[in-house]
């Protein structure tokens, strides 16, 4: 087993397209939960509508990929309004229940028989990347990178755009959070009645945060569609939202850079576990496991990571422990 190769592959995952896409989706979740205190357990639903905005526009209607992005963003706004209008006036847990259910309902609707003319049901949609790759300034066939960590030109293009979007939304988050608007949403996170008693329209602020975070999630989904070139409903399972929460808590909720560090650390560790298990398997050290079991162990590992995190570093990698431990009465 070549531990160096495993580490190199893990490092590659930490900066790769998937880490970038998850970081982007987690930036949206950070706005929801980290700053506004909204319990969104359905961020994957926003990713789904973003991905299918691209998928349906490109594969079914033959529209340019840019139109697909706009369609996805439009769907995210509609979804946020549908989720928010009935629940944001109620206690926080209603949004939690609604989002987790809505994301699953969306997945089931997109894979259902009656939706097949648009979504192609369980078969999903293909050939989604060409429009994006046409404007690729990198050499599609070339390899870029240092040492053992290299990417194709297409991957480089996707990473450039996705990490660029991450940077853009980090900047936007930073500007918002360091403004009076950010002060209001942090106040809502602490105690929305207090903020309401000071004359702020709490519902409107929560809605704004929900829509903006949802838009960012949809962008992440759209990038996933062009990255993979093919999408199908069953990749948008609740597990994705769970990963996003691990990423957010790992990095530090309510910290601007939390989602980025969290995503990089998360995908580094996931790739490392995977490589390590496979390495052990090849050496014949795991006779009681077969290949497919590795995925389950990897998932269990993600859960374990979350547990250890909450026990030893509840504030995340870059959170403020003092702030975290303040007696929230």
């Amino acid at each position: 087993m070549d531990i160096f190769m495993i580490l190199a592959e893990a490092a590659r995952s930490a900066v790769g397209p998937i880490a970038a896409i998850y970081a982007l989706a987690a930036v949206g979740l950070n706005l929801h939960f980290g700053y506004t205190g909204l319990l969104n357990f359905g961020q994957v639903g926003f990713m789904l509508v973003g991905a299918y905005g691209v998928g349906i526009s490109v594969a079914v209607f033959d529209l340019p990929v840019a139109v697909g992005f706009l369609v996805g963003l439009g769907c995210a706004v509609v979804l946020a309004l549908l989720l928010g209008i009935p629940t944001l006036r109620l206690r926080a847990d209603y949004l939690a229940i609604t989002t987790i259910a809505a994301a699953e309902v969306l997945r089931l609707v997109y894979r259902a028989g009656f939706a097949e003319p648009l979504t192609k049901g369980v078969y999903g949609l293909q050939n989604l990347s060409s429009g994006f790759r046409e404007v690729n300034p990198f050499d599609a066939g070339g390899r870029y990178g240092v040492g053992a960590i290299t990417f194709t030109g297409n991957q480089m293009w996707l990473m450039t755009v996705t990490w660029g979007l991450v940077a853009l939304f980090l900047l936007i988050t930073w500007l918002l959070i360091h403004s009076p608007w950010g002060r209001v949403i942090k106040g809502i996170r602490e105690d929305e009645d207090a903020v309401r008693s000071l004359g702020k329209n709490v519902f409107a602020y929560k809605m704004q945060a929900l829509v903006l975070g949802g838009l960012i999630g949809a962008l992440a989904g759209a990038m996933l569609a062009v990255h993979q070139g093919a999408i199908q409903p069953d990749q948008f399972k609740p597990q994705v939202t769970f990963f996003l929460w691990v990423i957010l808590l790992l990095g530090g909720a309510g910290r601007v850079f939390g989602p980025v560090l969290g995503s990089m650390a998360f995908w580094f560790l996931m790739s490392f576990t995977d490589g390590f298990l496979k390495g052990l398997g090849r050496e014949g050290l795991l006779p009681f496991l077969s290949g497919p079991d590795y995925g389950a162990i990897q998932l269990a590992f993600a859960g374990l990571m979350l547990v250890l995190l909450i026990v030893f570093r509840p504030q995340g990698l870059i959170g403020d422990r003092k702030e975290m431990l303040i007696n929230v009465k």
Partner: protein, 292 residues
């Protein structure tokens, strides 16, 4: 509590109540708040059932009554934090029943909570700044245009510092509100409410849990608010405090106004003594207490 000190601050012998009669539902010469038939029940329990109440502008009015009398519920209803079963009320001549909490606050009627709501993971100064009204930077688009709100922010910070100075919290301005003591949180909540520049402030048990050394200065804040022309409606249990600073006292029992009057009227009102003091004894036996 040295009640004579309290007395001196209130001893300016103007009767701010003009010739209001000491009876439930009595009309006032210049009411800022008028409430009619305000009802709220929880299941079978009628928590609030106020037929008519007027609060005189520019006075300190105390709302008293045994625990469970419906004082906090009445506050919640008037300020849009709870839904009424029925009733109408006007503030400064405008109908405000049916308005939401933030709209009532914007109209100039601001309340604090019995269970203090400090925004714990924010600094004391940020808590204060949240109270400022009409901030351009609080709009999402405005947030990106720092030059648009920089001067406003500076002016608000200045005003917040003045209030923090007055409430002796100035040294804590950069501390997290969650690190304050219970009494300091009460002070912060009151100062924060004042940041909204209300014309009427409603304080739900502002003295509960406040260190006796601070009570005096809190009382002075309340009287100086009135002297600046603001109207104060407050819930309190300490009889010395109530008698000392109130211009008018409203007694609530089982959701109804059972008596109203100047402190001297209330002190001698047999019905109040029976309802209030009697209930307090019962309360003492059942071991119930406020949540300080």
């Amino acid at each position: 509590m040295s009640s004579d000190e309290v007395d001196t601050s209130a001893a300016v012998d103007v009767d701010r109540m003009a010739d209001a009669l000491p009876e439930p539902g009595s009309s006032k010469s210049d009411p800022i708040l008028v409430a009619d038939d305000v009802k709220r029940s929880f299941g079978g329990l009628t928590a609030v059932d106020v037929n008519h109440l007027e609060v005189q502008r520019g006075t300190i009015t105390a709302l008293i009554g045994p625990n469970g009398a419906g004082k906090s519920t009445f506050f919640n209803l008037l300020t849009g934090f709870d839904r009424v079963d029925g009733g109408r009320w006007t503030f400064e001549g405008q109908r405000i029943n049916g308005r939401r909490g933030h709209q009532v606050a914007r109209a100039g009627m601001v309340r604090t909570f019995q269970l203090t709501k400090a925004l714990t993971r924010m600094t004391v100064l940020d808590n204060m700044l949240l109270g400022a009204q009409g901030q351009l930077g609080e709009r999402m688009a405005g947030a990106f245009l720092r030059p648009l709100w920089r001067s406003q922010e500076r002016a608000n910070t200045e005003r917040a510092m003045e209030l923090l100075e007055r409430f002796k919290l100035i040294d804590k301005r950069q501390d997290m509100a969650g690190s304050l003591s219970g009494g300091q949180r009460k002070l912060l909540e009151m100062a924060r409410a004042l940041m909204t520049d209300p014309s009427m402030i409603m304080l739900d048990e502002p003295m509960a849990g406040v260190n006796p050394a601070l009570v005096q200065s809190l009382l002075q804040h309340i009287t100086s608010l009135r002297d600046e022309g603001k109207t104060v409606l407050f819930v309190e249990h300490d009889m010395d405090v109530i008698m000392g600073i109130s211009d008018w006292i409203v007694v609530l029992a089982q959701g109804q106004v059972i008596a109203e009057g100047r402190p001297s009227d209330i002190r001698s009102d047999q019905q109040v003594i029976d309802a209030y003091l009697g209930a307090q004894e019962v309360e003492g036996e059942s071991g119930e207490s406020g949540d300080e």
